[in-house]
């Protein structure tokens, strides 16, 4: 019985060890840690957003805002929840390849970005906001300024 238990322990240890080891190596090889940072380079790890990145490098906002400033909400919790959520779906779609080439921002993502404009431009926007609860008649920065961060 003791032998059996020992064998079980070894099997469990090896399989779990492999899983953790492979997982850890994949994480490091895929530069998983970079996703915890604000570095815009992290967003082009997988090439899908090369155009957006190239557009940002040439945009007016490159010296004042990085990807996370406009694409995550304020506060640590909001920021990392959004990162985790987007990260999961991006990995899912980009690994499977089940996505259309010209990627589009989600409704939720658009709202995050829309709010992000107000982090810096709140004062000037405040004066022209309609404060309507109806989404369609609200002042939408992105309607006219969709290319300030990057084209496309």
């Amino acid at each position: 019985m003791i032998k059996l238990r020992l064998a079980q322990g070894i099997i469990l240890g090896v399989t779990l060890g492999l899983a953790v080891g492979v997982g850890a190596y994949t994480f490091v090889y895929a530069r998983g840690y970079s996703y915890m940072t604000d570095d815009p380079e992290a967003c082009v790890n997988c090439h899908v957003m090369n155009e957006q990145y190239a557009g940002w490098v040439k945009s007016s906002h490159r010296s004042v805002a990085v990807c996370n400033d406009c694409h995550t909400p304020p506060g640590l919790v909001g920021k990392y929840t959004t990162k985790a959520r987007n990260g999961f779906w991006h990995s899912y779609y980009f690994t499977t390849g089940w996505f259309a080439d010209n990627i589009h921002i989600t409704t939720r993502g658009r709202e995050v970005t829309e709010e992000a404009c107000r982090k810096c431009h709140g004062e000037i926007v405040g004066a022209i906001e309609s404060h309507s609860t109806d989404l369609d008649s609200q002042t939408r920065c992105l309607k006219c300024h969709s290319s300030v961060g990057h084209m496309h």
Partner: protein
């Protein structure tokens, strides 16, 4: 392990919890195995993408300036080649594309599938082209893959003797030019034009291929058709730019339209040497082209019903695109017809050349942030309006042709008839300019409706001219 010792006596009693422990153990192992497999699969996938990004292509064969066969190029560029092969598809859009119609192959024409006959769809075309080979066989164009076969086996070959000039744009002709001209493509071009079609046909084996648009060493785009080089030189000269050399002076983005413009334009066969000439010496607009033909006193044929000296317009896509908002915004043919696509970590041009309506996400949504349905509806609105106006213009032209015929049958041969014949030449060329253009107005919507409007005006003016009896 110490637990085991104390529990030895209870083991037989506790067979069930032991079994559960057993299950739990293997459950955890199974999960860990699945996680490892998944982790490795992901790792391999990421590795593969990183490798792809590092090496955009592998040179496995040596390409030279004489390699015509696209399958050899395909060994170095398998992704582009795979897409290139897909131009055999036959898919309809609302106003374009081709339907695959089965036919019984014969000795003379081994094709088992052809595209639908446009003459049967609209018999008025037979009236417009009466006395010309196009009134015998005219089908919807199929993809690039069929250009050589459809030219070789069209009924038009049987009713008239076509010159070798046709080969310029219905085959990969670059290497044939070089062989005929002893290395000089212009000399080879002149030789090719003069030959009878079926003699010239023996010199070529492939439809348009890699070498027709790409330099074999650098893959840079380049123009290989002397007619386009000469046409562009004439057009630029009319704007005051002398000795324009398209291969030296065009930008990369311009070349992404010019390589298509090598063939997708209005042309005529000039003189007894049947030289392929693009009629751009006065400009690219329909009136500039007609003025050029008038000056040359050129006609394609004499109309069988009316005796008018008439012209056949041929797919002026390059000319019409030049009049549109997309050209004005710097959007090239390739941006919509060969949009960028992603293959793994690589970004390539889609070499499956086709209607953007079959590829809206890549073709349109790069710039236009609207849903696919909305974008398609916008295009079809433009095309429906153009198509309706084209039908009005076609009716007007047929009315004029019938009136001229009736007048001549009644023995008239006065100035009124001559004027009407001249109006027919104009009306017909303007209408055909849009009819033969492969976008149903989309390449330049306002220009297309202007031209059709003027065509209707010419037809009706021709009818009025007939009222002036001597």
């Amino acid at each position: 392990m110490s637990d085991d010792k104390t529990n030895v006596g209870e083991e037989e009693v506790n067979a069930k919890p032991r079994k559960r422990r057993w299950l739990r153990f293997w459950g955890v192992v199974a999960l860990a195995v699945v996680a490892t497999v998944f982790g490795l699969a992901l790792l391999v996938n990421i590795f593969q993408r990183k490798q792809e990004a590092r090496n955009p292509f592998f040179r496995v064969v040596e390409l030279t300036d004489d390699t015509v066969d696209p399958s050899i190029w395909g060994k170095n560029f398998p992704l582009q080649y795979d897409d290139y092969l897909k131009t055999t598809d036959q898919v309809r859009t609302r106003y374009g594309g081709s339907e695959a119609e089965p036919r019984t192959p014969t000795q003379a024409d081994p094709r088992s599938i052809v595209a639908q006959s446009r003459l049967e769809e609209d018999p008025r075309l037979k009236t417009m082209w009466a006395g010309y080979a196009f009134s015998k066989d005219f089908r919807e164009e199929r993809g690039h893959a069929y250009m050589l076969d459809d030219q070789t086996f069209t009924e038009r070959q049987k009713v008239t003797n076509q010159p070798g000039t046709c080969v310029n744009c219905h085959a990969s002709a670059y290497v044939a030019y070089k062989q005929l001209g002893g290395g000089d493509i212009v000399k080879g071009f002149e030789q090719l034009n003069k030959m009878p079609y079926f003699e010239a046909r023996k010199l070529v084996t492939h439809p348009v291929a890699c070498i027709d648009c790409h330099d074999s060493q650098t893959m840079q785009l380049r123009v290989t058709r002397p007619a386009f080089i000469e046409g562009m030189r004439m057009w630029k000269a009319s704007q005051g730019i002398q000795n324009y050399d398209v291969n030296k002076q065009a930008t990369r983005q311009e070349m992404r339209a010019f390589v298509c413009g090598q063939c997708h334009d209005e042309y005529h066969f000039s003189g007894p040497e049947k030289r392929l000439v693009y009629p751009w010496a006065k400009g690219l607009q329909v009136e500039n082209i007609l003025a050029f033909y008038d000056e040359q006193k050129f006609k394609d044929w004499e109309h069988a019903n009316t005796g008018a000296s008439v012209l056949k317009a041929q797919h002026p896509e390059f000319e019409m695109w030049n009049q549109g908002i997309h050209a004005r915004s710097g959007v090239a043919c390739a941006d919509c017809h060969m949009p960028y696509k992603r293959e793994g970590a690589l970004k390539i041009s889609d070499h499956h050349v086709r209607s953007p309506l079959l590829n809206i996400n890549r073709a349109c949504q790069t710039c236009h942030k609207w849903s696919e349905e909305e974008l398609k509806a916008r295009v079809e609105t433009i095309q429906t309006r153009t198509f309706n106006l084209r039908n009005l213009a076609m009716d007007a032209l047929v009315d004029l042709i019938n009136d001229i015929k009736a007048a001549r049958d009644a023995g008239r041969n006065d100035a009124g008839v001559t004027t009407a014949q001249d109006f027919q030449r104009r009306a017909q060329f303007y209408l055909d300019f849009i009819e033969s253009e492969n976008s149903n107005g989309f390449h330049a919507p306002q220009e297309a409706t202007r031209i059709l409007g003027e065509s209707i005006n010419f037809s009706r003016k021709g009818q009025v001219a007939l009222r002036n009896r001597p």
